[in-house]
């Protein structure tokens, strides 16, 4: 790791001031992804602002019947929360489909949203990567791309968002609450939080420098059965090849998002509207314009089959 100074923030405002005002500074919460990347010298912060002491670790009911989840709530605490298990099962299911007990105990909700991609070339500092070194090129295009994105990609980057929790949050219309350096707060719809790579794949999130995630909010739970199905190379502790998060109503309508197929959790309104027509129609619409590689073209039929399984589950 590159040497860095360290401080514990005493208030959100102080944390934001410290990060916004110090070149090379970063927030750290669970640190399970950041420290891993620091060991590989992919992330090289010169100052860490530890936010874990801030009062952002509670889960509260909102007046409209939704839920407000503090950014520092651990993945385990969120998955095990009685109201989440009862009303937002897709979130519990998605969280426990990811990582391990040890990692989920440490990882925070805010940090989980900010986890970086898992492209093998992003992790290999000896190869070009436009995310790691902007302008250096993309080694994945024409390289080992089996795990990578098939849709929403660009000529500059085909890395996928590897998360599970975020796919579930996407079907629930979650929003991300933040505070910026001026002390202003805002709520960013999750669909706008993740940026597609375009020509600037190094910019992954709709956050300003120093802007801190303070909470994730969920609207009241939608009616229907909750599903999260993850297909991976081994039965546990592996990133998804394809995942499907869905809330399905008895009448055949519902909500659906796909994970590990795009640079962000992939939810398309027109595709979702095709749910009553069956999985083929949904996938044809969701993956319209996809540009898979010869190594990962299988993800599109796999997404259709996984969705078919989920729909069958929904019908009991």
């Amino acid at each position: 790791m590159t040497p860095f100074t360290y401080e514990r923030a005493t208030s959100p405002e102080a944390a934001i001031r410290a990060v916004a005002g110090t070149p090379g500074a970063k927030f750290i919460a669970g640190g399970t992804n950041l420290l891993d990347l620091m060991k590989f010298q992919i992330e090289r912060p010169t100052h860490l602002v530890d936010v874990r002491g801030l009062p952002l670790a509670t889960i509260e009911d909102t007046p409209d019947g939704g839920l407000r989840i503090g950014a520092l709530v651990t993945n385990t605490a969120l998955a095990a929360h009685p109201r989440v298990k009862r009303d937002y099962g897709v979130v519990s299911r998605a969280i426990v489909a990811g990582a391990t007990g040890q990692l989920r105990n440490k990882a925070s909700v805010g940090g989980n949203l900010l986890q970086r991609n898992r492209c093998p070339y992003f992790y290999n500092v000896h190869t070009p990567c436009n995310k790691r070194v902007p302008g250096s090129g993309c080694s994945a295009i024409g390289g080992a791309s089996r795990s990578l994105a098939v849709v929403g990609t660009s000529e500059a980057c085909i890395a996928q968002n590897p998360g599970d929790m975020a796919v579930a949050l996407m079907v629930l219309d979650a929003a991300v609450e933040t505070m910026n350096a001026a002390g202003n707060t805002r709520s960013i719809p999750l669909a706008e939080f993740f940026r597609l790579p375009g020509e600037t794949p190094e910019i992954e999130f709709a956050l300003e420098p120093g802007e801190l995630i303070t909470a994730v909010t969920l609207p009241p739970p939608p009616a229907g059965t909750h599903h999260y199905h993850k297909v991976r190379d081994r039965a546990s502790y592996a990133f998804a090849i394809v995942s499907v998060a869905a809330v399905l109503d008895e009448d055949g309508t519902g909500r659906v998002a796909f994970g590990s197929v795009a640079p962000r959790p992939w939810r398309v309104a027109e595709a979702e509207a095709a749910l009553p027509e069956g999985p083929a129609a949904v996938v044809a619409s969701a993956f319209d314009g996809a540009k898979p590689t010869h190594e990962n073209a299988f993800k599109i039929p796999l997404a259709e089959r996984t969705l078919a399984l989920v729909i069958a589950e929904g019908k009991g």
Binding site: M1, P3, F4, T5, Y6, R8, I28, G31, T32, L35, D36, K39, L48, D50, R52, T76, A79, A80, P82, K85, R86, G89, S92, R93, V96, A97, A99, T100, G101, Q102, L103, N105, K106, S236, Y237
Partner: protein, 209 residues
């Protein structure tokens, strides 16, 4: 003390040159800038297995390296150092984490329990005794992490933490074989002692009712 003529001459030359200002851009004393650069440190107070420790550590020091290299508690093992293998699993304030993916400075004031704190050869924790009874290891390298993880798994089930194989999320939880295997998936055993590890954990879980 007699000095060789060449050294005397060199000294005179350096002294004269410094006085004239010719060498002012070259530091003549002290280490080079690269060597002078010292990594930032922080004070850390840790309670480890009931013993208080006050340390001053390079901020980069992981909790794992603190335990092994500074406190010489080598029961906790370094496998992959990236959170993949679980050999470094310890309990922090009763919760299992990967000690390799946490900085010691993030644990100021925390209580850490390692394999040494669970029990001793003369007074083993029930999970340690069950691993011995069921031969839940071969080489033993992953064992401290397996045992710390197993102790925490039983607590997580009691607390209602679901797993990937849990059926009804809201029903009371039980530790079936498939449940404990899923919950232990962050602890890899290259010797493949899994079936005996599962037997050991099952015995402790059943004894607790």
């Amino acid at each position: 003390m007699l000095l060789p003529e060449w050294l005397l001459n060199r000294r005179e030359f350096v002294a004269g040159a410094a006085a004239s200002g010719a060498l002012t851009t070259v530091p003549m004393v002290g280490p080079s800038p690269a060597l002078a650069e010292t990594a930032p440190t922080n004070a850390v107070r840790l309670d480890v297995n009931g013993e208080p420790h006050a340390l001053t550590l390079d901020t980069r020091t992981t909790l794992l390296d603190t335990l092994r290299e500074h406190l010489h508690l080598t029961g906790t093992k370094k496998g992959c150092d990236h959170g993949h293998c679980g050999a470094c699993t310890v309990l922090v304030n009763g919760t299992r984490i990967n000690a390799c993916l946490s900085l010691a400075v993030m644990h100021d004031g925390d209580s850490v329990t390692t394999i040494e704190g669970l029990g001793t050869p003369d007074d083993m924790h029930e999970m340690q005794a069950a691993f011995v009874k069921h031969d839940g290891f071969q080489c033993g390298y992953c064992t401290p992490g397996q045992i710390c993880s197993a102790v925490a798994v039983l607590a997580e089930v009691e607390q209602g933490v679901p797993s990937h194989v849990t059926g009804d999320l809201t029903a009371p939880m039980a530790l079936s074989n498939i449940e404990l295997r899923e919950r232990m998936s962050g602890n890899i055993c290259r010797c493949g002692a899994y079936s005996n590890i599962a037997d050991a954990i099952t015995e402790v879980a059943e004894a607790r009712g």
